[in-house]
Amino acid sequence: MSEEVVLSGGEEHIASAISEEVVITFEDVNKWYGEFHVLKDINLSVRKGERIVICGPSGSGKSTLIRCINRLEPHQDGHIVVNGVNLDANVKNIDAIRSDVGMVFQSFNLFPHLTVVENCTLAPMWVKKMPLAEAEQIAMKYLERVKIPEQAQKYPGQLSGGQQQRVAIARSLCMNPSIMLFDEPTSALDPEMISEVLDVMVELAETGMTMLCVTHEMAFAKKVADRVIFMDFGEIVEENAPDEFFGNAKVDRTQLFLSQILAH
């Protein structure tokens, strides 16, 4: 399936815009779900503007890893520092960190009782105390960027999956985040809708946004990623630049995984 996705604008890797500033740090992070050890000694640092693709078999802990960054999941051991704030049980302004870290979910999670534009204006109005007119202006700007301004007055239930996911991306961007997290954004989509979402994500990458993306879309990884991380059994098994990663994987498990997802 992954080879079928054609991204507009060719295969060439888009220019990197990485600065020296480190915005996310994982230091010896461990996490358990009850008895299940889901993250094992994770060490990772992400610099501003860096684009990271995380892949690995299901249950390997990749979703959990990025959900720890905005503390939708608490970790039990080690340190996670986001934008200079250490995330632990005492963190007071978790809402402030969350409003600066956008997240896009596999199942879209749009608010079904609100229109598309209301989905986009809700958080700016409540969290940033923005007047309605200004919030709507920003919402329309991002809805245009994801190419669905004409759907603004519809409800999520009236849109296709691809359209819904693009609204979800616009909704996150309305908060003007400095980091965007994508948790398998195309896994719940029909094949013909995957590229419309990936195109939006590629355009977002071109703006220099810091992005962490859990995905198996290897065409996207080759085009966008500065680094590809392979996880298995809760560990970071291998991390490398995309050329090295796809052409010359060092670890057997990575090679096996790549042969499986590229074979079909």
Binding site: D95, S107, F111, K129, G157
Partner: protein, 401 residues
């Protein structure tokens, strides 16, 4: 082309079969049969009843409503004397039923929401206790619970002399004759306080509208909830004090063997009320729990990840969606409360069924008219409630493709 000719030829051969096989004709045929049968049954019942009444020399019609009832009613909201008419008895039963039902609806809804939320608690003890509450009261018959509260609780209370003083302040006295409590006696200027209450409600409404508009235009929020609370209580209290506290209380006091002054609710009212509230709150608790669970956890996560605080998430995302699932069964529970209040006959509470369908029929006859009037009352109440529900449903329906 050949097929068309062939079919045409066959149709012309049997016009009768064509008519019989036409779905429209068959549906008209069955509708005529059904309406005919219903009409015949109605006509038969009506003429048969009329003939029988005439044979026994019994009059029919609603003239009896103007005649004296001649019996007493143990407890009533509106004043009633034995010399009053059967029409008055109808009103007494109707107001008694509405009083206990409305009070029970308000309390059972509040209690149901609390129990439903408690059952979702992460605290094992709290959620288990809420679960036991629901399972015990939902799985035993209501009639059993009514009789339990009447015979095992409110009838075996001490006599007036040994009344239980609820709160220990001598104002609420509970004994085997009921619950005695102070009765307000408004003075001359009390209407100003009533006026202040209406002014406060109107002010709060306009405040909410203004605060909403201000948030839309400037983004600034206003603490509507606390301000409203202040206005709602503050304004009437200030006005009440300024006008010289024009409200006296008649306090129940033990004189001899019974209480004088104040007002009271009989044990049968208390038993019916407790049973209705507790029984139906277990249903509402389950509706509330199901409604909240029906909103997927992804909605909460999406809201949190946008930086919305838990309180806002609950108010803006979870509750509006949960209410869609909670309201229809909630309103149908309200209808059930009104209808189930007729089980009052078991403990002698003078509700509509008890005073009108039992006592009145026994004394004055006219069973058909009386049953029809009682049915009219219950079905009007239910139809009004369900009309409100339909209006609500069409307003909040989710739009989908």
């Amino acid at each position: 082309m050949a097929a068309v000719i062939e079919r045409g030829a066959r149709d012309s051969r049997s016009t009768f079969a064509k008519i019989v096989n036409d779905e429209r004709n068959r549906s008209i045929f069955w509708q005529v049969i059904v309406f005919g049968l219903i009409g015949y049954v109605c006509w038969y019942l009506f003429t048969n009843t009329a003939a029988n009444l005439e044979a026994r020399g019994m009059s029919s019609g609603f003239d009896f409503l103007g005649t004296n009832a001649g019996f007493d009613i143990a407890w009533s909201i509106i004043p009633y004397e034995p010399q009053d008419t059967f029409g008055r008895v109808y009103l007494v039963g109707l107001t008694n039923t509405l009083a206990v039902s409305l009070l029970a609806i308000v309390l059972t809804t509040i209690l149901g929401f609390i129990i439903g939320v408690l059952r979702l608690s992460h605290n094992w003890l709290i959620s288990t206790m809420a679960a036991w509450y629901v399972e015990i009261f939902r799985n035993t018959p209501l009639l059993l619970q009514i009789i339990f509260w009447y015979t095992a609780v409110f009838s075996v209370l001490p006599r007036p002399k040994q009344s239980i003083d609820i709160g220990g302040i001598g104002l609420f006295e509970l004994n085997n004759r009921g619950l005695y409590f102070p009765e307000p006696q408004p003075g001359d200027l009390f209407w100003i306080t009533m006026l202040a209450i209406f002014v406060a409600i109107a002010t709060v409404y306009f405040l909410a509208v203004w605060a909403k508009r201000r948030q839309l235009t400037t983004g600034e929020r206003f603490p509507v909830f606390w301000t409203s609370l202040g206005i709602l209580f503050g304004l009437p209290i200030v006005v009440f004090l300024v006008t010289g506290s024009p409200l006296a209380w008649s306090i129940p006091e033990l004189k001899g063997f019974n209480f004088q002054g104040g007002t009271s609710l009989p044990p049968s009212f208390l038993a019916l009320f407790f049973a209705l509230v507790i029984y139906h709150s277990s249903y509402i608790a389950e509706n509330v729990r199901a409604g909240i669970l029906s909103v997927s956890h992804g909605q909460t996560e999406a809201s949190y990840s946008l930086g919305l605080k838990p309180g806002w998430t609950l108010r803006l995302i979870i509750i509006p969606q949960a209410l869609r699932a909670i309201m229809p069964p909630l309103i149908s529970t309200w209808m059930t409360v009104v209808k189930n209040s007729s089980l009052a006959v078991a403990i002698g509470f003078p509700d509509l069924v008890s005073v009108f369908m039992q006592t009145s029929i026994n004394i004055g006859g006219h069973a058909i008219e009386i049953v029809a009037m009682v049915m009219l009352f219950y079905s009007s109440v239910s139809l009004i409630i369900s009309a409100a529900l339909n209006y609500y449903n069409t307003r909040v329906q989710l739009k989908e493709r």
